[in-house]
Amino acid sequence: MSNRTIIPFGPQHPVLPEPIHLDLVMEDETVVEAIPRIGWVHRGLEKLVEKKDFLEMTYVAERICGICSFIHGLTYCHGIEQIMNIEVPIRAHYLRTLWSEFSRIHSHLLWLGLVADAFGFESLFMHSWRIREKVLDIIEATTGGRVIFGSAKVGGTRRDIDNDMLKRILIQVTEIDKEMKEISQTFLNDFSVQQRLKDVGILSKADANMLGAVGPMLRASGVNQDMRKLNYAAYGQINWEPVIAQEGDCYARVQVRVGELFQASDIIRQVIEKIPEGPVDVKVTGMPQGEFFARTEQPRGEVIYYLKGNGTKNLERMRVRTPTFANIPAITKVLPGIQLADVPMMLLTIDPCISCTER
């Protein structure tokens, strides 16, 4: 038997934008066990419900993550609206769907860029982020923010988008689509990319399900599950199906995310075609009393907000379970058996967001 060594991986590592630590138990160059550890950026944001009222907490929810900021806010508002039986205007549902899908495109382009950077394809990284800038420009033009949208509110949305702007978005999305097609050819067909990603870090369908994996990590293993099928926002009025792949390796995770780029732009087109005229918010009266588990699909996967109100302005509990938290068990099961050189790539394929995870 070879000698075993333990290599500490992280919390500071060139491939990790945020701190997570793995004790990698190695036999020569092969990982035989991975023990994770988090806890460097825990902010205790959930505890703020004791100080901020249930309307102010929307801002806190939006600040849990800088990438899926809008969907955090949306999920929180959706949960409160379910507890308080608030009927959100249909136009607001469509706007929420539009901004959610722009979030998905910019998140996936960010991730594709990071992956390209990790396997040493600098120009592909730069092209991914160049296209992402155009998406951020649209987000800025419609919400005023590039990172924190500030557009979700309990009872609807804070802002509307006029019809001229919607027409301009349609033209821009078509242009962005063309550029995404160009880079997706390289991500999916380039020989060196395939060499780094195919047959690396395979997660079986059964393991993905039983380890509680979510999002592209789950769908890349052949599980057809996407929380948008719960028909929150306007997803029930849109024609779409989850993007899935079967192989469960790093390449399959890229396939799913690339597929979701084009799915998102298609959903945006349908939203612009179908969005009705009307108000974008309703007045909220009363205080939340009751509980609800709000579930939505972020770019990284299912996020859950457990909200419990007791009829006062402060909630009794806000508990957030983010997609990265759900994907950590899967990654620690997949790492054994792979080569040390593939660990950064494998870790990146869950698209880790640690600030989000620790809240």
Binding site: L211, L230, F293, R317, F325
Partner: protein, 134 residues
């Protein structure tokens, strides 16, 4: 549309058996989360299968009660259980990988173990054309 969410109260002694049933039925463990209330602690074990959401709830009257770990059934439960231990100070026995309080290194130990004093709800009553707060 309101998603149907079923919550079933169970006791600590039934927990592992009930969770094993969910595993056999191929439910996915969605999350485990604790809630500290003025008079009790609730722990929610949430499961999903084909978008059907089921929640088991343990109600503990004090934080000294020993809770059996379900990480022997669902391996990924160990992360939720370590989190609950570190934030709420609850006593979970038999976690397959027990970080023994080092999963979250918070400045204040068991930072979520306390809850604020109960505030009575404000009732607004309309009386002779003007609003009074009681």
């Amino acid at each position: 549309m309101i998603e149907e969410q079923k919550t079933i109260e169970i006791s600590p002694s039934d927990l592992v058996v009930k969770v094993r049933d969910m595993f056999v039925e191929q439910y996915r463990l969605v999350q485990i989360g604790a809630t500290k209330l003025p008079d009790r602690i609730e722990i929610n074990y949430s499961f999903d299968k084909n978008y059907q959401f089921i929640n088991f709830r343990l109600i503990l009257m004090d934080d000294k009660v020993e809770i059996p770990s379900v990480s022997g059934v669902y391996w990924n439960a160990l992360f939720y259980e370590n989190e609950i231990h570190d934030l709420f100070g609850l006593n979970i026995k038999g976690i397959v990988l027990d970080f023994k309080g080092t999963f979250y290194e918070t400045k204040e130990k068991f930072a979520f173990a306390s809850c604020p004093p109960k505030v009575e709800p404000i009732v607004r009553v309309k009386e002779k054309g003007k609003l009074n707060e009681q």
